[in-house]
C-alpha cells in the first residue's frame, strides 16, 4: 500500500499535514510523538514583522468545533529564517512556511525572503479572518486575490500554495483566479468567520467581535468546497476543514484532494497526527485501497 502523495514535485510520505496555527513549528508536539511521521508541517502563520496578536479571549469551544482569534501572533519572518527553519528541519517531512500579510508589499517582501530560505513550499494565507485591515480582505474578492497572488508569484521561487478562505464571495471563482495568477496548489478552507456572545457580560466573547470557526462542525461545508473547486481547477488541492479521522481523510481525497491538513483535532487528541496516519494505513488496507490515486477525485 502506498500513502505517498506528490504536490508540485514535492513528495509527501503520506497526505497528512499539520495545519498552520495549530501546531506551532512542530516543536511542542514533537515532545509527545515523533512528528516526522506526518507528511508535512505548515508553520505558524508568519508576517514580515513580529506580531503580538490579539488581546482578550483567543480560543472558545463551540458545538463540534471551536473559534479562535489569535491574530497571527508570530516571531516574524526574519526570526523564523534564523531559528525556526533549522528547528523544523529536524523533522523528516515537508516544510511549508505559511505567510500572512497586511499589504501587497508585506506579501512580496516576505515571499522573497522565504523563497531564499530553506523551505520546501510557501503557503500564502490570504484569508486570516482575525487581522484587521488586511488578511481577510485579500481572501474575499477574487480580483484582489489575483493581484496579490500574481505579485507574490513574481518573487516566489518555491512551489506556491494559496490558502483560500471559505468566506470568499465565490470559492470556485476565487480558486480559478488564484490558479490563473500562478498558484501551484491551493489549500482550502481556512476558518469560517463566526461570532460568539457572552450573555452575562452582554458582550461579544472576542475583542474583535468576529472570530474563525474550525473543527468537525465545518467539515461537510469544507468537503463541498473542496469538491467543487477540484472539479474546476487543474492544480493540486489540499483539503482542510474539520478533518479528524482517516475516514475524513479518504472522503477529502475522493472529493479530489491530493493531501489534507489537520488542525483543531490536535487539541482534542494531542496524538491525532500519529493516530490518523496509523489509522489511514489500516483503513486503506481494510478498504482494499492500494494507493490514494485509486480513489482521488472519484466523486
Amino acid at each position: 500500500m502506498n500513502l505517498q502523495t506528490t504536490i508540485c514535485d514535492i513528495k509527501f510520505k503520506n497526505p497528512i499535514i499539520a495545519a498552520s496555527g495549530t501546531f506551532g513549528f512542530g516543536e511542542e508536539y514533537n515532545e509527545l510523538y515523533d512528528v516526522s511521521c506526518l507528511g508535512g508541517i505548515s508553520s505558524k502563520g508568519l508576517t514580515l514583522k513580529p506580531k503580538d496578536g490579539n488581546e482578550g479571549i483567543r480560543v472558545y469551544e463551540t458545538p463540534s468545533g471551536m473559534m479562535n482569534s489569535v491574530g497571527l501572533q508570530n516571531p516574524g519572518i526574519e526570526a523564523f529564517i534564523e531559528h525556526g527553519i533549522a528547528n523544523m528541519r529536524r523533522f523528516n517531512n515537508v516544510l511549508i512556511a505559511n505567510m500572512g500579510g497586511h499589504s501587497m508589499e508585506d506579501y512580496t517582501t516576505g515571499a522573497a525572503m522565504l523563497s531564499a530560505a530553506d523551505i520546501d513550499m510557501l503557503e500564502l494565507n490570504i484569508s486570516c479572518p482575525n487581522v484587521k485591515s488586511g488578511g481577510m480582505a485579500f481572501g474575499i474578492k477574487a480580483d484582489v486575490a489575483k493581484e496579490v497572488v500574481s505579485a507574490v508569484r513574481k518573487v516566489c521561487t518555491k512551489p506556491l500554495i494559496v490558502k483560500l478562505s471559505p468566506n470568499a464571495e465565490n470559492i470556485v471563482d476565487m480558486a480559478l483566479a488564484c490558479e490563473e495568477a500562478g498558484a501551484d496548489a491551493l489549500s482550502l478552507v481556512n476558518t469560517f468567520q463566526a461570532m460568539a456572545i457572552d450573555l452575562h457580560k452582554r458582550k461579544p466573547v472576542f475583542n474583535n467581535v468576529y472570530a474563525g470557526l474550525s473543527g468537525a462542525a465545518i467539515k461537510p461545508i469544507a468537503l463541498r468546497m473542496v469538491h467543487s473547486v477540484c472539479k474546476q481547477v487543474k492544480v493540486p488541492v489540499i483539503g482542510i476543514g474539520g478533518i479528524s479521522s482517516a475516514t475524513d481523510v479518504l472522503e477529502f481525497v475522493m472529493a479530489g484532494a491530493s493531501a489534507v491538513q489537520i488542525g483543531t483535532v490536535n487539541f482534542n487528541d494531542p496524538l491525532a497526527g500519529k493516530h490518523i496516519v496509523d489509522e489511514l494505513e489500516s483503513l486503506c488496507q481494510k478498504e482494499g485501497i492500494e494507493s490514494l490515486e485509486e480513489i482521488r477525485g472519484i466523486i
Binding site: E28, G53, E55
Partner: protein, 245 residues
Amino acid sequence: MNYFDSKVISNKQLTGDIFVLEVERQNADAAAGQFFMLKCWDKELTLMRPISIFKAEEKTLHFMYRVIGQGTKKLAELKKGDLVSLLGALGTGYPIKEMKGHVALLGGGLGIPPLCQTAKELTAHGVEVDVYLGYRDVLFSLEDFEGCCANIFVSTEKGDEGYHGFITDLLKPEQYDAVFTCGPEIMMRKVAAMCKDKDVACWCSMEHRMACGIGACLGCSIKTADGMKRVCKDGPVFKAETLFQ
C-alpha cells in the same frame, strides 16, 4: 509530559459545585503549580480542560474543579474505575527550589487547590509556610493544609467563618521572604501591589482559556513585561512584576 489514560479512583463532591477527582498517577511528572489537560469524552467536546494539580501523591493525582460548563459537568459524572485521559504535567509552576526562609501562600476560591501541593513541596524543601485562604462562604479543603504549613489564616466574604472580609486584609508581606498567590486576577493584582510596596518577591498563577495546553496554538498568550507569554507553557506561574506593572 505524557498523554495517557488513567483510572478514576474516586470523584467526590466537596461542597456545592466543587468536586475532587482522584486518578492513578502512572508515574506522571507533577510539580506544584503545574496542571494537566483532562478529558473523559471522545469528540463530543472539542477541547480538553486545563485543571491544576491539587495533590500529587506517590500513586495518585488529585484535581479539584468547579462544575461550570459542559466539560466539568462530564468530569463530575466520572465514577470509580472509569477512564480519563490526561495530558501533563504541563506548564511552569512555582519556584520551590529557589525558596528559603518564610513563604506565604495566598489563595482565593478555586485558586486554593494548587497551593496545597505547593505548601507540601515548600515544607518538604525546608521552607516555613503560612497559608492564607479566602472563601466566599463555605470553607473547603482546610484539612488538606494541616500538617504542611505553620499557620493557616481563613476569611469569608460573607463572614460565615474566619475573618469577615478579603483574605488580602490579613496578609503582611513584609513578614515573608516571598508570596505565592493564585485566584481571581483582581485579588492577585492586590497581592502583587502589596508585595511591590514592601519589596517582597511575588509569584502569581494565571488562568486562561486554552486549546492545546502545550504551547503550540498561542490561544492563551498574554502580554507581559517580557513580551507575549503562553500561560500554558511559560506559565501559569509568573513573577508578579512581569504581569502587573
